[in-house]
């Protein structure tokens, strides 16, 4: 294989790969390794393979670096493991060298994608996202159907506003997650914000494409969404999906090659800010008395640093709260990340099972989170072990306690 096929690999990537001391500290924390117990999926093991594959493609005439195996073969044999990862970033948080594995794993997927070796199911997903502009492969004109279906009054769609509410594919199309979209809308109304939906003009944020490895596809989504948002002169984009918020905020600038003309917040940040500034009327609410716990979404807590905000919001509307073990920055992934559902659903459910058992051990009555993918995964995990526990997004809990829904 020729060198130019690896041009995504920067010297800093190489520096990070070559720093791994194979101490296997990450093995203790990786939720995927915890289930599969294969060295190929241990973060330290992934680093070794990635390094081998990259080196075999670089300067083939350098005997010292030449690897006997053919790179394509290696990639082929290894693909399954590349996608057996929740992209939760926990390995980065525990690595003594702070190796930024989340970026490495995405890069690895980009390389696999470039060789067209990604699994068939992801080829399908890639194709339909690029043609339907959403992650569920249905007509994108159905994106705002939940507005009528759930009876949200006077919702603005694609109108000039200060704030754009970027709903995200999961909350738009998946029935159990549509309540999150509804709750978020009611909260934005209650805060008297001037806000709008993008409707059909909201395309997939591109996160699933990046997880597949299709950077060009993600760029197409980014360019469209940025244009749609900036056309409305919005100053702020709010999302209740940590994946969308993080992709727009952290990845769009490098995808489109310039800074954004608007700010991006997860709805938990906005809510916390409004509560602290006393701009969110809380009078006369009846606080929740059931025992509540909170699962930090990886993308929100570890990968975006939004950790205290959701807790402040929960405390505003509940009496009794108990922390989950392995939470906050060190949160144990629920399994909902990394497009695992498409690639290896069994793995996703096994990871989810471990997480919900922790909530069960707390004797929590309401398990909250702040991410549509987490909500679905936690519900699936509970179903798997046959435990009845209420799973709510913090927006739903908040809207209910405020009597909005």
């Amino acid at each position: 294989m020729k060198l130019e096929t690896l041009k995504e690999v920067s010297p800093f990537t190489m520096l990070q790969l070559e720093t791994c001391a194979r101490c296997a500290h990450c093995a203790e924390y990786c939720p995927v390794y915890d289930v599969l117990k294969k060295p190929q999926v241990m973060p330290g093991g992934r680093v070794s393979v990635m390094l081998k594959i990259i080196k075999s493609g670089v300067n083939p005439w350098f005997a010292l670096y030449r690897s006997k195996t053919n790179k394509l073969n290696e990639i082929e044999n290894y693909v399954e493991n590349v996608y057996n990862c929740a992209l939760c970033g926990r390995c980065m948080a525990v690595c003594p060298f702070g190796i930024q594995t989340d970026i490495l794993w995405e890069l690895f997927r980009k390389i696999v994608y470039r060789f067209n070796k990604h699994p068939p199911v992801l080829k399908e997903v890639d194709k339909f996202i690029l043609s339907t502009y959403n992650a569920y492969g249905v007509g994108n004109d159905a994106r705002s159907m939940w507005v009528d279906y759930l009876g949200l009054d006077n919702a603005k769609i694609n109108e000039r506003s200060d704030v754009v509410y970027f709903v995200g594919c999961t909350s738009s199309f998946k029935a159990v997650a549509q309540d999150i979209a509804y709750a978020t809308s009611l909260i934005l109304n209650h805060a008297r914000l001037s806000w709008t939906l993008l409707g059909e003009d909201e395309w997939c944020c591109g996160a699933p494409l990046l997880m597949i490895g299709d950077e060009d596809g993600a760029r197409k989504m980014a360019e469209h969404n940025v244009k749609a948002i900036e056309n409305l002169d919005a100053k702020l984009v709010v999302s209740a999906c940590p994946g969308c918020a993080r992709t727009i905020k952290q990845k769009y600038p490098s995808l489109i090659g310039r800074a954004l003309r608007f700010n991006v917040m997860h709805v938990m940040e906005l809510l916390d800010l409004y509560i602290r500034k006393e701009r969110m009327p809380l009078k006369g609410i009846e606080k929740e008395s059931a025992l509540v716990t909170y699962h930090d979404p990886c993308e929100l807590a570890r990968l975006s640093g939004v950790i205290d905000e959701p807790r402040h919001v929960i405390h505003a509307v509940t009496f009794s709260f108990r922390e989950m073990p392995e939470g906050k920055k060190d949160v144990r992934c629920c399994g909902g990340g990394g497009i695992l559902q498409a690639v290896n659903d069994e793995l996703r459910l096994s990871i989810a099972e471990k997480r919900v058992r922790q909530a069960q051990a707390l004797e929590a009555e309401i398990l909250t989170s702040a991410c549509p993918a987490c909500k679905i995964t936690l519900m699936d995990g509970l179903k798997k072990i046959g435990v009845k526990m209420q799973v709510l997004d913090v927006t739903e809990l908040f809207a209910r306690k405020l009597g909005l829904m």
């Binding site: 990070q16 070559e18 060295p39 003594p96 060298f97 702070g98 990845k251 600038p253 640093g305």
Partner: protein
């Protein structure tokens, strides 16, 4: 000193160092060459993280995270027993190792024991302390070796490189301490380790162990650029990069 021994010492500390330097430099150059031939630097587009203005909060978080990682605290993120044991072994081994490396600079004349006279006697600082620290390093890295063999997860990703390095390191420290255990000759000794650097020792150590120490240490230096020992050079950079990202993410990027 008998002539054969003298010839051997001349080879180890006179000739071999040139090979060591050359191999080390060659290894590093090869590495850099490989890295830079993977990608044209112009492709690097600044991400929003690197565009975030630096605030006082993000600087505070960056420095905090840097110190935290330097103390190997990253592995202490959660009080898991296994993490703690690993931290104890690797932290004590590494910190002692750094102190010993620092100690090697004294006979070269970089610092003098009198600077630290307020702490302890010269005898303690230059003879006893390094000796004890040597055992800590030996103990620490030996335990890491045991862990590598015994723990299923670690063993599954270990290869020749991992075991070889630990073996070399253990050899260096074993020989280093044996120089002090075996009888001294109470005569001063000047060890020329390169044309311009001379180590002035007060007493002559066991020369056989000194030879082993010198060879093993140079093998380690030669091997460094080709192995995971490269983390010695690279880790400050990866740790700094992560700390800056962490500082911005948790500080500057939030509104």
């Amino acid at each position: 000193m008998d002539t054969n021994l003298k010839l051997l010492m001349d080879f180890i500390f006179g000739t071999l160092p040139w090979v060591t330097y050359a191999t080390f430099l060659f290894g590093i150059s090869l590495k850099l060459y490989t890295w830079f031939s993977t990608s044209p630097p112009s492709r690097t587009v600044p991400s929003s993280i690197s565009r975030t203005p630096i605030s006082a909060e993000s600087i505070r978080l960056t420095i905090g995270q840097f110190i935290y990682l330097l103390l190997f605290q990253g592995r202490f993120i959660k009080p898991k027993a296994k993490s703690f044991v690993l931290w104890l072994m690797s932290f004590s081994a590494h910190i002692s190792l750094f102190l010993i490396l620092f100690g090697h600079l004294r006979p070269i004349g970089v610092w003098s024991a009198s600077w630290f006279a307020w702490m302890a006697s010269e005898q303690f600082l230059t003879r006893d302390l390094p000796f004890y620290l040597g055992w800590v390093v030996l103990g620490g890295f030996s335990l890491l070796l045991v862990r590598r063999v015994v723990d299923r997860s670690v063993r599954s990703i270990s290869g020749f490189d991992d075991y070889f390095l630990l073996a070399i390191l253990i050899t260096i420290f074993l020989a280093g301490n044996m120089m002090r255990v075996s009888p001294y000759i109470h005569e001063s000794f000047a060890l020329r380790i390169s044309p311009s650097i001379v180590m002035q020792l007060k007493e002559t150590p066991s020369l056989i162990w000194l030879a082993v120490h010198g060879i093993a240490a140079q093998v380690l230096i030669m091997y460094m650029p080709f192995s995971k020992l490269f983390h010695i050079i690279a880790s400050p950079f990866t740790i700094l990069a992560y700390s800056i990202r962490h500082g911005r993410l948790y500080g500057g990027m939030k509104t």
